[in-house]
Structure formats: structure tokens, C-alpha cells
């Protein structure tokens, strides 16, 4: 039985992997123009309207991180004069270019035809594409998404984004691609998006169950792959999330908990909410530290990084396509103010019956990291559950200290045990 389930689990993973690979094949095929953009504020439906392939440099950095190639690329960028202190995704990208710009499918990346600078939730994006433009010298179009500083995006912000889409982004994409913009085509893609989003939210909410049938951080990375990259708005994405739903439902029906790279996890001992992106260079090792202890991540902010669909029920709306793209961008997790992030995560701790909040703070990512200590204290206060703080990096292997992370996690699990037995709590932190 478990063999069958392993195969089932593998099926969604295999499918996801095939989809990501197919996108690399499309990008490197030379058969269509290529637009590069970012995961938060990813306007995939719009990119598809112009028959362009969507290349996401963050995903390339992740791929390089998981394949243990990013370390060398980062060193290369630092040799070129990039600071040790800045986002390692950017340096992995710069280093990748210097090392021949080879895609994960082994073929060379073509130069992008367009840098779609969707400046959403992270200042680094702005500099990142200015840096790439220096080499690619291709058209670069800015979409400035104002920061939702008051937890309540205004009409003024939305109008500003829509106007940029109409006056700058769409005309530039028409010019670069040679394809005329068709709003009905956009509506159709957005209709598809909303269908997949419904299933994705269903999936996220299944970890409210005990035991949780899925892990929403380590496992979540795979589940989010298609919708956060080049597939939102496609029939493929609808099919994938239908398939995933069936697969998860099957686990639920059989009363199974989380599936890990080493098979079923066994007894679920700890339920955590995690804030911050994972480390990619030691992803498996990092995950193992959790499942070896029976810890499952029931909710994470990282599974909202490419769009928030559960907190306030956003769906892409084909009736108001451009306005809806604006709302999507305004609502991505890193574009939300700290009080909203705190509320979101505190709600997660309560609604998913978690033992507490763990923060994985990323050394080179200010967008997530600045303010996380404050967030942890606030969430501890609101929920009465203990928090813990670990520090790693995204794709720079020099900043993943397995022993440190493991120690802190073990202390945290002990603290949760103590709390359950009615003892006091103290934060586990750096």
C-alpha cells in the first residue's frame, strides 16, 4: 500500500518536474521570445498573451542551489565586484551568466527579449534588472507596485498600476513580441488561473487536519511550483492541481500523514508555522531535520510568496482583468505591511492548531528578514505559543550551518514538549 502511495506522491512530483523542465525547453528552444520577471508580481497571464516564454531568475537560482552549483556562481559574482552583503539570488544569476548562462536542461539560455521589472514587494528587484540590463541591453519595462503600508490597498495604488499596464507595460510587450494585445485572451487565462487557485487553496487548507496529509513548506515548494512560475493561467495548471487534489484526498481517505523523501513520516509530533524562505543548498538535509523529529509544517508564508489566495480570498478576476492583476500584485506576501504579516501568521498558528512559529531568517533577504524578530514576539504574544529563530541563506552554502540549525530545532522541540507538559516558555533564538 505504501509503495502505491509513494508512487502516487511521486506522480505529482514527477508531473511538477516535467512541467518546470518543459518551460526550460520552451525558453531555450529559440522558438519564442523570452520575457524575464519575478515570482512575486509574476504576470504570467499577461506574458502568455504575447506568446512569450516566462523565465524567472529566482527559480533558476533555486535550481542552481539545489544542484549545488550556486556557491561557485556566487563566488564568481563576488570576484566581479559584487558585495558579500547583498541578495544571493542576484549573485547566483550574475555568476550563472559569467559561467556560460546554462539552463538546468543543459542548454544555453537565450538573452531575454524583455526584462519585465515587476517591482513588487522587494527593493532588490529594481537593482537586479538594472544589473541584468547592463549585459543584455534589452528593453526593460518597470511596473511599480506601491507598498501596501496600511494593510489596505487604495484605489490610487490600483489606478496607478493599471495605468502603468496600459501606458507602458502592454505597449512595450506588444512592440517586443509583435503580437497585438487581446484582452479576451487575458480573460480566458485568468479564468483558468482562478480554477487552479481554488484547488490550491483547498490544498493549503488540508493541513488543518491532524495528521496533516501534506507539508506546506518543504512539500509546499513542489506544490507551488506550477502556479508560481510559468503555468498560472494554463490548462496544464488546472490539470496539475486537479491531480494534486486527488492525490491528497487519497492520503486523507487512508488516514496518512506527510510523505517525505524517505517515505511516510510516521507519527506527527509537532505542527509548525514557518516564516521565511527555505535554504536551497541543503534542502533535503534541512527537511530531514524536521521529519526525523516528526515535525510537519502546516502553514508557511513562503507558500504565499507568489500570491496570497487564502487570507483574503483573492482570485484572478476575468471580469476586471487589469484591475485584478493590480490587486494580485498589491497582495503578494512581501508587499504587505508587518502588522498584516503578523496577523496572517498568528491566524495560521491558531487555525492550523500549530505548536508555534519558526522563523527561518535569510541572511541576504531584507524584504523578509528586516522586522522578523519583532514579528516573532508579536505572534508569541497573540497566540501564547513559543517561537524560534534560525538563520540560514537561500543559495549561498557558506551560510548553512547544519549543526547550529539542528541544535536550535532540537531545543525548540524540547521547549514545545515542556510547554505541553505545562512548563514555561522561552524563545529559542540567535
Amino acid at each position: 500500500m505504501s509503495e502505491k502511495l509513494e508512487i502516487n506522491k511521486s506522480k505529482s512530483q514527477i508531473l511538477q518536474k516535467e512541467m518546470i523542465t518543459s518551460n526550460y525547453d520552451k525558453i531555450t528552444s529559440g522558438e519564442c521570445k523570452v520575457s524575464s520577471t519575478f515570482v512575486p508580481g509574476n504576470l504570467n497571464e499577461l506574458v502568455m498573451c504575447f506568446d512569450m516564454a516566462n523565465n524567472l531568475p529566482e527559480i533558476n537560482a533555486i535550481q542552481n542551489g539545489m544542484r549545488k552549483k550556486s556557491g561557485g556562481m556566487i563566488m564568481e559574482a563576488e570576484r566581479q565586484g559584487h558585495s558579500e552583503d547583498v541578495c544571493t539570488y542576484v549573485k547566483a544569476d550574475v555568476g550563472q551568466m559569467a559561467k556560460g548562462n546554462i539552463a538546468p536542461n543543459g542548454k544555453p539560455f537565450p538573452n531575454p527579449d524583455l526584462l519585465l521589472l515587476s517591482y513588487t514587494g522587494c527593493f532588490t528587484f529594481l537593482k537586479w534588472f538594472e544589473l541584468l540590463r547592463e549585459d543584455y541591453k534589452c528593453p526593460t519595462v518597470m511596473l511599480h507596485v506601491p507598498y501596501d503600508a496600511n494593510g489596505n490597498p487604495t484605489k490610487s495604488m490600483r489606478d496607478y498600476i493599471v495605468k502603468q499596464l496600459k501606458e507602458d507595460v502592454i505597449p512595450t510587450m506588444e512592440k517586443v513580441s509583435g503580437v497585438k494585445f487581446d484582452i479576451d485572451r487575458l480573460r480566458e487565462y485568468m479564468r483558468n488561473s482562478a480554477k487552479a487557485e481554488d484547488n490550491m487553496v483547498w490544498m493549503l487548507e488540508q493541513s488543518k487536519r491532524t495528521p496533516s496529509p501534506i507539508d506546506c513548506y518543504f512539500g509546499g515548494v513542489y506544490y507551488m511550483g506550477p502556479i508560481f512560475t510559468a503555468f498560472r493561467g494554463t490548462q496544464d495548471a488546472i490539470d496539475y492541481y486537479d491531480f494534486l487534489r486527488t492525490e491528497i484526498q487519497e492520503r486523507i481517505d487512508l488516514g496518512l500523514g506527510v510523505s517525505t523523501p524517505e517515505g511516510d513520516m510516521g507519527e506527527e509530533k509537532y505542527r509548525l508555522v514557518v516564516e521565511g524562505p527555505p535554504n536551497w543548498t541543503s534542502f533535503r538535509e534541512f527537511w530531514k531535520m524536521f521529519y526525523d523529529e516528526g515535525a510537519v509544517v502546516v502553514a508557511s508564508s513562503y507558500s504565499k510568496v507568489g500570491g496570497v489566495y487564502d487570507y483574503d480570498g483573492f482570485r484572478h478576476d476575468p471580469e476586471n482583468p487589469l484591475e485584478s492583476l493590480a490587486d494580485y500584485c498589491l497582495g503578494v506576501y512581501t508587499n504587505r505591511n508587518l502588522p498584516t504579516r503578523v496577523d496572517m501568521l498568528a491566524q495560521n498558528v491558531k487555525d492550523y492548531n500549530a505548536d508555534g512559529l519558526l522563523i527561518n531568517s535569510i541572511k541576504s533577504c531584507n524584504s523578509f528578514a528586516a522586522g522578523q524578530l519583532m514579528m516573532m514576539r508579536q505572534i508569541e504574544e497573540i497566540t501564547g505559543k513559543p517561537g524560534a529563530f534560525i538563520e540560514t541563506d537561500l543559495v549561498d552554502p557558506r551560510y548553512f550551518s547544519a549543526a547550529n540549525v539542528k541544535n536550535r530545532l532540537e531545543s525548540y522541540f524540547q521547549m514545545i514538549d515542556q510547554k505541553r507538559r505545562g512548563g514555561g516558555s522561552a524563545t529559542v533564538a540567535a
Binding site: 566581479q80 565586484g81 559584487h82 558585495s83 552583503d85 547583498v86 541578495c87 542576484v90 521589472l117 517591482y119 522587494c122 527593493f123 532588490t124 529594481l126 537593482k127 537586479w128 538594472e130 544589473l131 540590463r133 547592463e134 541591453k137 526593460t140 518597470m142 511599480h144 506601491p146 507598498y147 503600508a149 496600511n150 490610487s156 495604488m157 489606478d159 496607478y160 495605468k163 502603468q164 501606458e167 507602458d168 505591511n337 508587518l338 502588522p339 504579516r341 503578523v342 531568517s361 541572511k363 541576504s364 531584507n366 524584504s367 528578514a369 528586516a370 522586522g371 522578523q372 524578530l373 519583532m374 508579536q378 538563520e391 540567535a430
Partner: protein, 391 residues
Amino acid sequence: MCAKSLKEVVDYCQELFDDITFQSARKWKDAEPGRKVIGYMPVYVPREIIHAAGFLPLGILGGGADMEVIHGDAYYQSYICRIPRSTIELAVAGNIDFVDGMMFPSICDVIRNLSGIWQLMFKDKYVRYFDTPQNFKGEVGGEFYQRELHELKEGLEELAGRKITNEDINKSIAVYNENREWIEKVYAYRAKTPWKTASWEVYILMRAGMVLPPEEHTQLMQDYLAAVETEDRPKRDNCRVIIQGSFCEQPPLNLVKSIELSGCYIVDDDFMMVARWLQKDVPTDGDGIHNLSDAFLNYSAESAFKFENVMEEKGTHMFDAIKKRGAEGVIFAAPSFCDPALLDQPMMVNRLKEKNVPFITMQYAENSGQMQPIREQSGTFADSIKLWSAA
């Protein structure tokens, strides 16, 4: 009234610089009932609108070199720059308890998220994250920016309990135009006769502009220029450099002194861009908000925290400063962990290399203590510039 001596002016600036409890701003506030103080962080807020409300705009540029950070480290990890933690320290320790509101400009994610910390910690205070557009078309970014300015005005009106009229704004625009004019006079004077104006003096003179009402700051600059003119200071065989990358967290004063002592006249910098970002006068008639927006869209200096739509235009402000001030080299002095400065730097460096302009790079924190390596680095730089120019 007799003219102030250079020592009097400089001592006063030093006193303001050293005072991290902001006594002068407290006195200003206490002088009349109903006065309010609005703090702002780097890099840019339209101080004209705060001034038009009858408030004092107060620049909060961190805690400086000497402030001990006790609480702030509990808010920030070691890999985040120092200015947010020392700013929190100022707040938690009560140094800025008299400040009625804080503005956080859209310069980077650290200051952006600090606005959220403020919302969580100081719920009874006015907190405004201030967004400037990255689209520079009048009918796109301009319209958005004007709406932002109106929102800011309305928020301040609520605090003031009165309307801010267009006339108020235009009057304040005139005050800041004059202030910028005198700043430029000080900078031009320094570039012309750098041996007469020590850069650390100019630095604290500009810092005074962060805490004084603009009218007083303008007077202070006038006093300084009048006093320095009468001084007889020896001309040294120094090279001429501009400083880039120090627009947010400020370097310790000792760093400015060390660079100069090691043989470099600083002839331009980007230390306090709020006072110098708009490159031309803002018209003082017509719709003040519209004019402020226009000035930002069309006349704000090209800089690391602004998207440059045209790749070829990148670096123009830096090269303009090099040309205008006759600089021979550039010192990139950036705060550690500063995304805008450090991500921008490689692009600027490449442009300097293309044009054979000498440069060096260094990093600091506002409380960096060790100046020996800085002196050595900038001393070697000064020597090499002299060698090149002699060759």
C-alpha cells in the same frame, strides 16, 4: 549685530550634531502651544508640506557613532545595517518621545519594514510610509504622486487641526528653495576653495539642517560662509574626490575627517540627499503639490534608490558632480548590508572604469571605530591620483 566667528558657528553645529536627545527641536516645540514635530528618515520626503503645516521636519539619521545600542539589537539580526536598530534605540530610550509622527521613505525594504515596526510599537503616533513613484511620466507616476502628496497633506491637516492652503505650501516651497540655494553656495564654495572649508565642518553644517527650521539653517550657512571667508587656512596638496553611497546610514564623523586628513578634499557627496535631491528651484506660484510632483519627476537627481529608465543615463548625477566640482576620483563609501548602495555600486564602478576615473570602495557602519584602515586606503588612493595626474 556683529558677525559670528567661524568657531561660534562650528561649535554650534557640533553641539547640534552631538545632541541625540534633540534639545533644539524640543525647545522649538515647547516655544508655542500646538507646535508639532514630524521625524523623517533618509532619503527624501517633501519637507515643504510638513513645514507648510507649521510643523518642524526633523531628520532622524540613526543614533550616530557614540550611542550605545541596548534594545535595538533585539529587533535586528546582525546582518542588517545599523540605522534601523539605532533608530529603534532612539525611540525606546525616549530620545524622540516628543516627536509626533514619523515618515519612512520608500528607499529600501529595511526602512519599509521599519514603518511596520513603528505601526506595531507606537500605535498612538502618526506613521507614514512615503512612496515616491518609479514611473516618471506626468500622467502616470505624476498623478499617483500627487495623490500621495494630497494624502500626506490631509494626514498632517488632521494632526494640525487646520487646513494647509496652497499659499502655505508655496511659501514653504520658497523657504526650501532658498535653503537649497545656500546649500549649493556652500558646496560650490567648498569645491572652489576646499582648503578653506574642512569637509567635516560642511558635514555638520548640513546635519544642522536636519534638526533646525530651514530658515535658521539658511542663516547658519550664511554665517558660515561669511566667517570662513575671513579665515586664512593653508592650501594642501590634496586630491579632489566625491563620496558616493552614503545617502542613508551616515558614516561616523571620524570617517569624513580621516578621508580629508589622509589627503583627499571632499568636493561633493551624497550624505543628506533630502536637502539636495531636487536639482532646480520649485516654482512658487500655481499648484504647489503639482509643482512639487513635477520637480520630483523631472529634476530629482539620478540615484541608487530610483529606477533609471534609460540605461545610458545611469551615473549621470555622479558624472555631473565630478565635472562640476572638478573631482579627480570617487570614493564609494557604503554602509554594510545596504542593498541600494551595494547593488548599485558595480554599475557605477563599470562606468568609472570605462572613463578611467579612479575610485575606491569601502564599507562602514555608523559606529565604526577603527579609522586606521580607512586612512591608509584613502591615503594610498590620494597618492595614486597625484601620481597619475603628475604622469
